[in-house]
Amino acid sequence: MALEGSLRDMSLVDLFRIFQLGQKTGMLMLVGTQERGIISIAAGRLVDAAIIRSADRQVTAVREDAILQLLQWDDAVFAFRHDPNLLKRPVRITKDSTWLMLEGLRRRTRPLPLQPHQVLTLDTPLELAPLPDNDEWNAGLAMDQVRLLNLIGVYRTLRVFCQRTGIIPDTAIRLASELVIVGLVEIGTIDVPVISGTPKPVGQPDTAILQAQPVLASRVVAGPTRRALPTKRALFDAVVRRIREL
């Protein structure tokens, strides 16, 4: 099976981040309305790329130029297949992936549609992500993005950053969003509503939940009914043991 989908579900920038995170090796094929893109990846690094016009099969762009053009695409389907042979392929893309992503975002005429987890407000807690090993990526940063990277660890939110630097909020949000998209800044966990195991009960009284979960009930019920605990505990252990034995 290959990793397959649409750029509407996962942007090319996100795909590049996945390739870096997972040190992937393989071929990414993109099919747009009139052109096709091919990107070779070796151990998470972009090594070659081309754009081919579908009508006459002419190559219209290669290497960094192809990557930067592909980063403008919003509507294409893709398939990524693992191919270890690409580890032997000569590296034809010399620019760093993060630099290419930043440059691609900068050239876009319209902002990249953000996924829900990438949407920022002035009060979203931000953290500096582990930075790439090489120094090539930072050449793609705008001056205010460099300031943001230097100060976000201290100020934590864009509201404080804007107050201290005088940068207008809309600009700060746009610059920070780009840094989040390319993975240089991460959204912190404080005050962020995330799905946890203790959601608020809706339309279901707590007592019913306790009945629904005998193990849970056995541990929170005190007093005379506590005698039931060893039985419930034993039952739970029996379930665990039985599944281990399968």
Partner: protein
Amino acid sequence: MQLYNIVVTGAHAAGKSQFIQTLQKVEDSLVIPQPSSVTSFERQRIEAPLDHTSIFIDSDVIVDIFNLDGDPFDPSSFAEREISCLGYVVLFNSCRPVHFAETLRLLHRFTMLTNAPFIVAATQQDDPAAIPLSYIRQRLNLSEQIPLVPCVTTNLESVKQVLLSLLDHIEHQTYEALL
């Protein structure tokens, strides 16, 4: 007879049926209770043509593992099983980014419906092209407290690990509730 449920859910083609079928292949886990030992309601549940398998714990206790389709999701079909639901497993296909939106919707629907503990299992993690777990956690907006485990639905050991992770999580949550 006591019946407990573990619900397996996820978007279309997330691997729910395969997950159940892998458990069904374990011959001794298939238990058909004697009709005299169960009520008509229990028998109806056990014999229902729903994708499920039954794990025999002892002569009185059965854990049913149900495949509950998330697409389209019928809250009433879960409400019946929630009565004795130990917890649930949400499957996510690691090679299908289109599932992010549906899985998020599913997670929200379930957390509104029940407080039962749950874990997320990322299927197809044996595929070298699979989306890494760290990215899946980010996109599904899962807190660090929610286990996100790799799963190969055709592999019994992997399926067992998912169930054991859910049971661990149930146990852990119970301690948390006591603190």
